[in-house]
Symmetry: C2
Subunit: 334 residues, 2 copies
């Protein structure tokens, strides 16, 4: 499933900025393909890009309307269906990250069939994958892993892509979650794949490539998350990474959604991820840490990064505050 | 999905005993519910139980016809459909372990609807599961793990159930694969669950129980298998095991289906499985090894078991040759 660009980012009546975080991620990482936002009365989020109606978007050359808002229950708000049918009638595709499939709403499905348009429910894989084969493949791969879920793995992979491309290094972000898929224009929502085929799906996602090309694979979950560690392990094995970057947030009190579970310490986290990744690539190494220090003031953040760097003898950066240049230096130095 | 018993084991024209191994497992572990076998011309397998026609099975009180043969492509052989429709018309349910769903064959689906009968495609989960929550639950659980796939994890769990029950210990086998599901009459085909929900599905499969009750959970895959390790890890975390039994086959040249991958040594295998299981149960311990020594002669087998036992200081048995009594002794001693 490849999404046609540019996009109109539909954020409905998102009650706050967080409810529109998928769309905000797209607008931040792909301003070039984010033509406009569409907001409905009551919306309290703002992506900082032009407001457009469905008609204006069609005139501006938009090819896909992204339903990029999360609402409780994941269903469409009142009146949204009519707007999305209008988008289809004006020649645009739809793409959604909602749990409930847009393609299963009769009015949308019928309109899409009538007008030959695509509805991409990116949370739901549309193809079958083979079982992973573990065969060594050419090209280089970096995977972001983490102490927990929602801790900066997508952001870090995208920041690495930007930094590496700016230095003339061949690099492509590979998306494994819904926001990443909208940003990349394709990918696999890996946690929605049947468990037997997770590593095979990742092998498909980042196949053999030129020897000097880097795939920057978006990590998911954490080996230390009691709900999702299996997804993470299949992803590690399928990615066959040459390099790992460990993501962390130092002020988080417990694993996301699991009050009884503490985050692992960084040394253990690095060791376990390396141990797991060695199965399909014995030469894997950790090349740095990406820390979300937004919970610390500037001085505390700087202190944390410096101490961690000294302790682990690895580049340790906040991708927002200081960028990922030091990690790319390390990669390039090897 | 609970299967009604007793069964007729339909093995079609299975070209050899291996092609009927699912049915053979049912007949071996559940002779009490395996009323008969049905074989077609050309069948070269024999389960050692009475041959019956569909009609005879119905008269004998059979409640479910198990399509327990695997054929290339997983489709039904010629003429099978007619026989299975007849079974439905005579009041029996169908259950299948084939990849292709029986319930999607119109003639079978329609017959089942007409007669109010059930078609259970046990490879395909029919319910939704919650995400794993990792909350500590009462009751005891033992999980079989292994150096590789297809290495005795189901057999060992069933042998433990038989031995423990014979000693008056409350114990239930919990099935995670198709053959196990036929044997137990219910369960979850865990490798067919969407990856996000694997640990949650296992939490559902072996829920809270009496403090002195053991669930004997059938393991799947291996932490060391590049294709399936993610399934295994989710299963470990969801099972929250108090005890692990490690299964192994000492003459296997490489990981099943992966010629480039060697089996891990037993010490490493134990350590990694314990390490993984400690996330949801810090008190987990390995209580023994279950070795398939069928590739060794009697003297070599005895020697292997003795040496391994000395080296690892754990009960080390072949469940077929010597039984699992020593492992249950160890469990009971703690």
């Amino acid at each position: 499933m490849t999404l046609r660009t540019p996009y109109l980012l539909f954020i409905g009546d998102a009650p706050d900025q967080l409810a529109a975080k998928t769309a905000a991620g797209i607008a931040y990482w792909r301003p070039d393909i984010s033509k406009g936002q569409m907001r409905l009365p009551g919306c309290r989020a703002d992506l900082g890009i032009p407001d457009m109606t469905i008609e204006e978007a069609a005139k501006a050359g938009v090819k896909t309307v992204i339903v990029g808002t999360t609402n409780r229950g994941g269903v469409l708000g009142e009146g949204w269906e009519k707007l999305l049918v209008e988008a289809i009638e004006l020649g645009m595709d739809l793409a959604s990250g909602l749990h409930h499939k847009l393609a299963e709403i009769p009015a949308l499905r019928n309109a899409a069939a009538r007008h030959g348009r695509q509805i991409a429910d990116v949370r739901h894989p549309t193809r079958e994958f083979a079982v992973g084969n573990g065969i060594k493949r050419a090209g280089k791969r970096l995977l972001t892993v983490g102490t927990d879920c929602s801790i900066g793995k997508m952001y870090t992979a995208l920041a690495l892509e930007r930094e590496m491309r700016s230095r003339g290094i061949k690099a492509d972000f590979r998306a494994t979650g819904q926001t990443g898929i909208f940003i990349a224009g394709d990918g696999v929502s890996i946690d929605a794949v049947v468990s037997d085929f997770v590593s095979g799906a990742v092998e498909w996602l980042c196949p053999e490539h030129d020897a000097d090309h880097w795939d920057l694979v978006e990590g998911q979950g954490s080996l230390f998350h009691a709900s999702y560690a299996g997804v993470t392990l299949g992803l590690i094995h399928g990615a066959q990474p040459d390099a790992l970057v460990v993501c962390h947030e130092p002020t988080r009190p417990h694993m996301r959604g699991l009050p009884g579970y503490k985050l692992p310490d960084l040394k253990t986290c690095i060791a376990r991820n390396i141990e797991a990744a060695q199965l399909t690539n014995p030469a894997v190494r950790c090349v740095g840490l990406s820390i979300n220090t937004s919970g610390l003031d500037a001085a505390a953040a700087q202190d944390y990064l410096r101490r961690t760097e000294d302790e682990l003898v690895l580049p340790c950066v906040d991708p927002v505050r200081v960028g990922v240049g030091a990690i790319v230096d390390r990669l390039a130095a090897d």
